[in-house]
């Protein structure tokens, strides 16, 4: 709508308002609004279509869909890792506590004068526990395999998101400093080791503070 048309429309609306023809005024206002928004809506639609076309060209759409489909599986696999490691830790602690009791009994026997038959039985039991302890470490292999798969998925996700951001013209952020009060969890494997302390650093820091 050019300026002459706009002026003409406004003139008509003014007349209608003077005559108190409110339905006509409402309709006219709405037409004006729509006419003004149309180019914007068209531009948005065109951008969305361009984006979709480019995503299809890069197969980003199907890759995103695949990544999204694999996420629930990755989550349940990671839950399984927690379970595997917890079970292994529990089993290990069971065996250690059991072995500790045998060792305490051995120490008693040393004090009392050895009963060789019992010493032999204790040695056999300890040996069995050591074998079980060794077998319990199998969780490392299993959890390692699962975590490696999930790392692969996260890698694909990172790449796909990166291309999507590139397409949308979004600049990647430097990883931000943690918000105050946010807990960081274990230092192991963290990319940003800024400010991370070892036990020795912690000891020095505390002794500087008078502890």
């Amino acid at each position: 709508m050019n300026h002459a048309e706009l002026a003409q429309r406004l003139e008509q609306l003014h007349l209608a308002a003077s005559a108190q023809c409110w339905p006509e005024v409402e309709r006219g206002m709405q037409e004006l609004e729509e006419a003004r928004c149309r180019p914007f809506a068209q531009a948005v639609r065109r951008m969305a279509m361009d984006l979709q076309a480019e995503m299809q060209a890069l197969q980003l759409d199907s890759r995103l869909a695949r990544v999204a489909a694999e996420i629930p599986d990755a989550r349940s696999r990671l839950d399984a890792v927690i379970q595997l490691t917890e079970d292994a830790a529990t089993q290990t602690l069971d065996l250690v506590e059991d072995s500790r009791n045998y060792v305490m009994r051995l120490q008693e026997l040393v004090g009392q004068g050895a009963n060789w038959q019992e010493v032999g039985a204790i040695a056999a039991a300890l040996r069995r526990n050591l074998t079980e302890l060794s077998a319990a470490q199998a969780y490392q292999d299993l959890s390692g395999q699962i975590i490696r798969r999930v790392i692969g998925l996260v890698g694909t996700m990172e790449q796909t998101l990166g291309e999507l951001m590139n397409l949308a013209g979004i600049e990647p952020l430097e990883s931000e400093a943690p918000a105050k009060g946010e807990l960081m969890g274990p230092v192991a494997g963290r990319q940003d080791k800024h400010n991370a302390a070892s036990q020795a650093d912690a000891d020095d820091l505390l002794s500087d503070l008078g502890l």
């Binding site: 529990t90 602690l93 506590e97 230092v187 991370a196 302390a197 070892s198 503070l209």
Partner: protein, 130 residues
């Protein structure tokens, strides 16, 4: 320190509580009760008898730092030794714990030797103060 000293071990992971309990037993301390966060620890402390607290930092519900502050602000527990055993290793956090009145700070994973050393040091300080 008396081998009958009553410990309260606070950690949300049962495995870690068990590890600490075993290490304390190896050092001759067999009188240990457990809690899984600050909220469950406080009533145990209130009931009395606890002489030493070993606590994690990151726990759902009430965290270790909040527990430490609650212990220091309550006159009946204000002078209890509190040893923090945590994976949190940022310098700001260590300073925050020190300012809140922590008695010792151990970063996970830790060794039996580190636990013994920190316990001994805290106990020495307590005896020197007594």
């Amino acid at each position: 320190m008396d081998k009958n000293t009553k410990f309260l071990v606070v950690d949300d992971f049962p495995t870690m509580r068990r590890i600490v309990k075993n290490l304390l037993a190896d050092l001759g301390y067999n009188n240990v009760v457990e809690a899984d966060d600050g909220n469950t620890a406080l009533p145990i402390l209130k009931a009395g008898g606890i002489q030493f607290v070993v606590t994690d930092w990151n726990m759902p519900g009430m965290t270790g730092i909040e527990l430490l502050k609650a212990i220091r602000s309550e006159p009946s527990t204000a002078s209890l030794p509190v040893l923090m055993v945590t994976a949190e290793a940022n310098k700001e956090q260590i300073v925050e714990a020190a300012q809140a009145g922590v008695s010792g700070y151990i970063i996970k994973p830790f060794t039996a030797e580190t636990l013994k050393e920190k316990l001994d040091r805290i106990i020495q300080r307590l005896q020197a103060a007594a």
